[in-house]
Amino acid sequence: MLDHSYIGKKLPLIRYQVDASKIRELAMALGDDNSLFLDKEATQAAGYPDIIAPLTFPTLFRFWGGTPAGAETRALLGEMGADLLRVLHGEEEYEYFGTLSPGDDITGELEIVSIDRKEGSAGPMDMVRTRATYRDQHGAVKVIARATMVVRW
């Protein structure tokens, strides 16, 4: 049984500073050679001030931007009582309000939205839905990330 007291609880802030090296590193790990992610001159020639992050870049915020106390989702699930080897990523969604580029200083608030028990063919599962709202240094919302983690027992 997961600790349901985490639902709606205020969790430690996520802080992440976007830089060109991490954008390149993610694009290269995915094997995505889009010049908008890799080449500042090409990006500027296309009318942008600097390179742009790939669509799944916000996943870095919770992994690299968490505090040691653990804003990272899996660490949280561990605190809540899950066996981490039995946690699956069920869903991920991003709602974008602009692109991410080097210099963006991101602050994020992650919250556990809901926990729903489901009876699967292999036993009970808890569907843990999270939402993170990421703002830049000007307070503008850049992206809202929603995820569902599946905790099997």
Binding site: N34, L55, L60, R74, H89, G90
Partner: protein, 138 residues
């Protein structure tokens, strides 16, 4: 990117598909470092065995990243308003992933002309790994 025009799009149109090179264990190591997701089931063989998967499995976000690549091969990143997926199957090193999609809706919202598209990623045997959709302003 290909700069598609709203007026040239018909609901049902297929998006240009993307087939990726086979996933490698090294790619999973690189992706772990890039993303910060160091869950050992993606890189440490014994952890993959202990988790009941028989060996390492791919981060779901690698497959979502492949889908994202297909999308931004078609439109620019700043045209994408929403992008979401459901993970429906695990992938392993050696799997060759193909991403495809089609336009399912054309509409106007917030003063923009938008398309909603369904996307999916399958492996070399046609087994589906990811199903999702995105919205782009054209």
């Amino acid at each position: 990117m290909t700069d598609p025009r709203f007026e040239d799009i018909t609901v049902g149109d297929a998006l240009p598909a993307l087939t990726k090179p086979p996933i490698t264990e090294i790619q999973l190591v690189r992706y772990s470092g890039a993303s910060g997701d160091f869950n050992p089931i993606h890189t440490v063989h014994q952890a993959g065995v202990d988790s009941g998967n028989g060996g390492v499995i791919t981060h779901g976000m690698v497959i979502m990243g492949f889908v994202g690549q297909m999308i931004t091969d078609w439109v620019r990143p700043d045209q994408v308003r929403r992008f979401g997926v459901r993970f429906t199957g695990i992938s392993r090193p050696g799997d060759e992933i193909t991403v495809s999609g089609k336009v399912v809706e054309k509409y106007e919202a917030d003063g923009e002309q938008r398309v909603r598209c369904e996307v999916e990623a399958v492996d070399q045997t046609g087994h589906r790994k990811v199903k999702g959709e995105f919205v782009a302003a054209l």
